[in-house]
């Protein structure tokens, strides 16, 4: 029983990270039709800037940790807004060029991070409580899992509130459904594009700081490794669906953890299998729009 509980919470913690990356990816694709392969770079930049803050101001303090979350989110947001404004804006409706430029940017960003912080993984220190465990039903759960879960739930609630209760949220929901009709109502949808990129980048940057604590290190390749699973989550959840991304993130991560433990380390394979099944039997994803 304790193993199941441990795997479940570990999966939930990992699912929280997947969600923080996939939320932005899903909204960006849903609204703009942009497959953003540079999204992992937003996460990595958030992780490194968060680590820099922690390193310079005392890594074991809660205040430092909270500050690193804030700085990581801001760094991801600024990088994402810059990417949309300078690179993507000129390429709407040109999907091949979008893929090429975002793949190129992700490679260039990794090279840049290599140059600044080196190619080796940097190990992370956090508040002492993170190293401790909390016992639930006999399982000793590492505390950092709870932080990831709480952060992801707060981000989900904030995003849902924003989408449901603000005019820009309404524009984004409408744009995900029918972008050209939004412009045909006299709305400059490009502002919503920049906003969605910024929000997605902030969530990814936040996810980067949390991922560095979850895995215990930060490296230039951190974003790329999480991005693959975030794409899978986005497709399974349904492109453009935030709730779908949340459900799929938890399902994928928990499935991955259980398969790794009970099926001899086949977690990644099982996840890809799940993706194939979804694409075969429900191509629009769990909660995606039907074409």
């Amino acid at each position: 029983m304790s193993t199941v509980v441990l795997l479940l919470f570990t999966g939930l913690g990992l699912g929280a990270l997947y969600f923080l990356v996939a939320a932005g990816l899903s909204l960006i694709y849903g609204l703009m039709g942009v497959l953003n392969f540079a999204h992992g770079a937003f996460l990595t930049l958030g992780a490194f800037t968060g680590w820099e803050i922690a390193r310079r101001t005392g890594a074991d303090s809660w205040w430092t940790f909270l500050l690193s979350l804030l700085v990581g989110a801001v760094a991801g947001a600024v990088f994402a807004a810059f990417t949309e404004f300078v690179l993507i804006r000129r390429l709407y409706r040109r999907h091949i060029e979008q893929v090429l430029i975002t793949v190129g940017l992700s490679l260039a960003a990794v090279a840049l991070f290599d140059g600044i912080w080196g190619t080796d993984a940097v190990f992370i220190q956090g508040p002492a409580w993170f190293k401790e465990t909390t016992e639930i039903l006999g399982a000793r759960i590492p505390n950092d899992r709870f932080i990831c879960i709480i952060a992801a739930v707060l981000v989900l609630l904030a995003l849902v509130f924003f989408l449901k209760n603000t005019r820009y949220g309404m524009i984004i929901r409408a744009g995900v459904e029918n972008r050209s009709m939004v412009t045909a109502l006299g709305i400059d949808v490009r502002k919503a594009f920049t906003l969605v990129f910024t929000i997605g980048g902030a969530a990814a940057g936040l996810g980067g700081v949390l991922a560095s604590h979850y895995f215990g290190y930060v490296s230039p390749l951190l974003g790329g490794s999480l991005l693959i699973f975030a794409f899978i989550v986005t497709v399974i959840g349904g492109l453009g669906s935030l709730t779908g991304a949340a459900i799929a993130a938890v399902a994928v991560a928990v499935l991955q953890q259980f398969a790794n433990f009970y099926l001899g380390g086949t977690g990644d394979f099982v996840v890809v299998l799940a993706l194939a099944l979804v694409l075969l039997f429900r191509p629009s994803g769990l909660l995606g729009r039907t074409s």
Binding site: M170, A174, M181, T183, A184, L185, G186, I187
Partner: protein
């Protein structure tokens, strides 16, 4: 009604060409829409009526001149053309199905003082359904949402694309009545397959064939010419009732008077 900058047409299209996925769908189309009344844009299925409407507001790639109230707008993005005073009611309604009726309407509000009261008077049913998801409405109710979105703002022209498509006869009559009411304050360019509705509402007609304009003139005179409608629209207007509505009778009388005066 918005004052026009000049006494001429509210909308002038000249040499309009449009492409979808590399295929030309509108070819050198030129026509004008007067500053009052309803002008019908007619033609068989697939001749480019919807594409023409979309090209006017820049929803598809196009070239040529588009002049709204004396101001050229063809270089402007869609949202700016709409903001300069165009209300668009698309084919197939295109309401946002996952937004409520109230949200669909709020999203369309672009004036500082949107005409909510007018919309509530014209569509009282929408008020009662304001919290309902638009995707769960019937086709007729969705059309009301689509029309209401355009009527919320003060426009120089309404572009209305097949508003009666797929609707029950009773709803068609309601939609036609709403358009007649709207046309008292704003000119309308109307794409419509239902010739009974065209006869009831339209003053002028522009007929497309193969992406080109092949006829322009008085709508009733066009519909009364069975040979011409048979040739250009592929339907006989003898099937369309000549039991004219008060709108049609008045327009017919006015057209005859104008002819007499001209002679």
């Amino acid at each position: 009604m918005t004052a026009t900058a000049q006494a001429g047409p509210i909308l002038r299209i000249e040499g309009l060409n449009a492409h979808i996925a590399g295929q030309q769908v509108v070819e050198d189309v030129s026509f004008t829409v007067p500053a009052t009344g309803i002008t019908a844009l007619l033609g068989r299925n697939g001749v480019g009526k919807t594409s023409t409407i979309k090209a006017i507001i820049g929803l598809i790639d196009r070239s040529g001149l588009v002049e709204l109230d004396g101001v050229r707008v063809e270089k402007e993005p869609t949202y700016k053309i709409i903001r300069s005073g165009v209300g668009y009611v698309p084919e197939d309604r295109e309401v946002f199905s996952k937004l409520t009726v109230a949200e669909n309407l709020r999203l369309a509000e672009r004036d500082a003082a949107p005409r909510r009261q007018l919309v509530e008077e014209l569509f009282p049913d929408l008020l009662a359904r304001s919290g309902q998801m638009a995707g769960t409405l019937s086709g007729g109710q969705q059309q009301m949402v689509s029309l209401a979105r355009a009527l919320l703002n003060t426009n120089k022209i309404l572009l209305v694309d097949e508003p009666t498509k797929g609707l029950a006869p009773k709803i068609v009559a309601e939609v036609a009545e709403t358009l007649a009411e709207a046309a008292k304050t704003v000119p309308i360019l109307l794409v419509e397959q239902n010739l009974q509705v065209v006869r009831q509402l339209a003053a002028g007609a522009v007929v497309l064939s193969g992406g080109k304009v092949v006829h322009t003139g008085n709508a009733l005179e066009f519909l009364d010419d069975d040979g011409l409608t048979q040739r250009l629209l592929g339907v006989s207007t003898e099937a369309v009732s000549h039991e004219a509505s008060p709108h049609a009778e008045a327009r017919h009388a006015a057209a005859s008077q104008e002819k007499g005066a001209a002679l």
